[in-house]
Symmetry: C2
Subunit: 537 residues, 2 copies
């Protein structure tokens, strides 16, 4: 979109403006041009109001100076969605105070205590979302929501702060040691939620018989884990969850994977970029059963197994021994876990158990849903949450560069573990971090820019009210308007128009206004004309 | 929308179905009808899968039983947007376990430890958002976003968890004693944000000269305050903020109030429902200056003044005396604060100061923006945050039943207090609680129901894959589909269709499927027909 100030001078229509009396648009601008340099060149104009305020006032700024604890500067990038370490955003050192730029010498108010600068970074491991990052987040969430809508799911949410008890399980999950937990002022043990599923289970139990099953719910919520800041991990992320409550059949898992595939496709991600590894915890269950390993070991064994490929295999074995699994069972387990084909699995486990049956049904349904080429059996997938009981799956990038993109599975016993009725359920979590790394890798990052339909600019301080009227009229018609709130030279206005990708510039000049008209410039074509206010669409 | 199962039986087209071989839709349904009663009548079908699972498996549920700390049951309603105390949602007592309903006796798995039930309520003062409440929240947020878009604002967000230092001021604000603060695992003092403005100021300082002023930013974020649970207050709420950074002129405040008025109008709220009380902190400043009260008292005095009408006037006086304000100054202050007319204010303060000048300009602009009938001068408005420096305003319901609906003002010194450059700024916060009370009062609550365009149902377990194909095709065309994931009788399907406000029922029967066709029933009209799959739009 072209938007340059010099255009007005060369355009034939401009002669009209030039030949008008002193209230016409350009003449006014010329008169103002000396006083109204762009802000960066003439900071004193910019802050003239506050200068006046301080001159007429004996107060310095209120002295509620902060107690600024400089947090150690975060090693992770502070850009919300960047993955590689980037330079810290420009931060003003204290040397900048009182120097040039926005706050010139004139505008420095009479301060007694010089305030110490706060740490301008968000707490370690957390993110700000400035507009450019927020646009990406909103775009991502919009896709989460649109896919959830296509699948007929209803949105829900839960408190960010939950009772700690909801998350404390005895299976040795990472999650437990990573809780942001504390006692509130009422002496309750609470925690920032590390995931959404326990809250969902709690709400389903609370709703009890007032809801009809199945429930198909989705949520997009922020979750926290206090992890060591390795591998570019953050301590918070947003997670898209879809859950189906009340369907015992594998159709539910098949539907969930279909929704994730739909999401990937919307973003331009293909089956050659991403796949799903699918298994069932019943595979492990059936192996453990053969070795008469007590049922209460199941969760713990899953958590240990989940660390395969993350820590050395000898450590895995050590951990399994330490929870009492025999060497023979460990060998059998590890052998089964290396199986990558359903036929081979059937050879080992036989066809009597549910593990093979469920998986076969899932692969058959995948064909009908049209995502066979996205999924593969992989017995090593168990997922790191203690509560899964059946099918488990995770999305991975085929280049093998990234952590799991998403993961989920069946958790038929979570509700009864919480003391509710026994209701079958399955769901997945899909974080906002790895997917952004992936679409950056693949060049699929959308171009998202701030766009405003109109920029409305008064050509005179006395016309600020008139410009407000014009802006109001346009907004009532559903048009977005950036209203220029100060007297600024046209050059500044055009720069701003370009920055906000304005479609039209509406200039409110005195002589036009007296005729009930405004000047319009279409910024993409350069076309410009005068129009009656009530004809402005 | 009518959706009843008996329709099919009486409709002439149905004869077609009846006269078909056994694979036709109704015949199948009849065969299935005994096995497939609605779930509520025949729970054993519902949980047959999990029964099978437990039968073939010696494991009971994993024993990671929670450590269930029963929180005191919340005195506030757990419905997100209800204001009057309502009955607790039906919660299943432990007596319900193993009884009738969803989990019949058959489905009870062999449990060794009976798990103790968790507290099903969200922590005191916080909310769940089940679908019906989430729809209202989404509708509200959508209106916040649409108004912000109309005004050309860009969305931003900040961490929920911030460094505590950001919120600790020395002015005796309520906010300080109400922080949800704690030490994280890295020994940093952090707090759940009680408001958004300090984070915004931090981000603006961080961005420094990389951004061009003015910034027009909005945010919708959750905030926490640990308050006593009086007057139906909660400990968290969502807040819509709009802020203009870099404009010293009152045009900015006028623009902000215009955006709130636009929001109210969208919801059907009029100037006879709601008004804005407007004043300027410069009024107080000018009075304090006359009595040579030190500038560092300003914030504290404002905080005390803000409690007028909340606590007895004698207490206010006591507090003012205790911070060292003379009796004479207090009398003068209280007299000025009772002024409700700008002319009267001008009589007292004269026309030399900025207070009167700013307010006059604001009221003049209000006329041009078209919201004169919404605003009134009221010197008693000071707002409870220490950092305001100029115009302050709050939205109130004219019936006087509710707390302030929103509030904001100018905070020209917050950024420099944090050690940044001196940049003028103003903004407002608009919570999600009082507005919902107001629209309930006024009968303006929108009817928001879950709606799905299609419900797709296989008439046979063997057709689940075919139904999945149909669902996928419709979803690829942008249609929302609730896919029936289990074998269910038509009666159940019609009930579900009605509950989710489905537009069409798509029945996938064997004989139709073999011809590449499906049965369609338009649920609003009762019209039904068969259609080729590739003609289904």
């Amino acid at each position: 979109m072209s938007a340059n100030a010099s255009f007005l001078i060369h355009h034939p229509r401009l002669i009209l403006y030039f030949n008008k009396p002193s209230t016409s648009i350009l003449h006014l601008r010329q008169n103002l041009s000396l006083r109204h340099l762009p802000q960066s060149l003439n900071p004193s104009i910019y802050s003239s109001f506050s200068v006046a305020l301080f001159r007429s006032c004996r107060f310095s700024r209120p002295s509620f100076s902060l107690n600024p604890r400089k947090l150690s500067s975060s090693s992770s990038s502070s850009s919300s969605y960047s993955t590689t370490a980037s330079a810290e955003p420009p931060s003003l050192s204290s040397n900048d105070n009182g120097g040039g730029g926005r706050s010139g010498a004139l505008s420095s108010p009479p301060v007694i205590e010089v305030p110490q600068k706060i740490d301008v970074n968000p707490p370690k491991g957390t993110r700000d979302f400035p507009p450019e990052d927020m646009r990406l987040r909103s775009w991502l969430f919009q896709n989460f929501r649109e896919v959830s809508r296509l699948f007929g799911f209803e949105e829900v949410d839960f408190p960010v702060l939950e009772s700690e008890a909801l998350f404390v399980r005895k299976a040795g999950e990472e999650i437990r040691d990573q809780l942001y937990n504390f006692k509130d002022r009422g002496n309750r043990r609470v925690a920032l939620r590390p995931e959404l599923t326990p809250s969902l289970a709690r709400l389903v139990i609370q709703k009890g018989k007032s809801v009809s099953l199945p429930l198909k719910w989705f949520a997009i919520g922020q979750c926290w884990r206090y992890e060591r800041m390795t591998r570019g991990r953050r301590r918070e992320h947003y997670q898209w969850n879809m859950d189906i409550i009340g369907v015992p059949e594998v159709t539910a898992e098949a539907e969930l994977i279909s929704s994730i595939v739909t999401f990937f496709k919307r973003l331009g991600i293909t089956a050659s970029d991403v796949g799903f590894k699918v298994s069932s915890r019943k595979v492990l269950q059936e192996v453990l059963r053969c070795y008469s390993i007590p049922e209460n070991m199941f969760g713990k064994v899953c958590i240990i197994i989940d660390k395969i490929e993350k820590i050395p295999i000898e450590e895995i074995k050590g951990e399994l021994v330490s929870v009492g699994i025999s060497e023979a069972a460990i060998e059998e387990l590890l052998q089964v876990l290396s199986v990558k084909s359903l036929d081979k699995l059937e050879e080992i486990l036989g066809d009597a158990g549910d593990a093979v049956k469920d998986l076969k049904q899932l692969f058959s349904l995948a064909e009908k849903f049209g995502y066979s080429d996205w999924i593969q059996f992989d017995a090593s997938v168990v997922r790191g949450l203690a509560y899964y009981t059946g099918i488990v799956f995770e999305g991975f990038d085929r280049e093998g560069k990234l952590r799991a993109i998403c993961g989920g599975g069946r958790y038929d016993q979570l509700l009864s573990t919480f003391g509710g009725d026994d209701i079958p359920a399955c769901g997945f979590g899909f974080g906002d971090a790895v997917i952004v790394e992936l679409i950056k890798e693949k060049g699929l990052l959308p171009e998202l820019s701030h766009e405003v339909e109109n920029i409305v600019c008064p050509l005179d301080k006395e016309l600020q009210g008139a410009a407000a009227t014009v802006a109001t009229i346009l907004r009532q018609k559903g048009q977005s308007v950036d209203l220029v709130l100060e007297n600024k030279p046209l050059k500044w206005v055009f720069k701003r128009a370009a920055r906000i990708n304005a479609g039209r510039l509406i200039l409110v000049g005195n002589s036009e206004w007296q005729k009930g008209m405004v000047g319009v410039k279409i910024l993409s074509t350069g076309e410009q004309y005068e129009i009656k206010l009530d004809e402005l669409e």
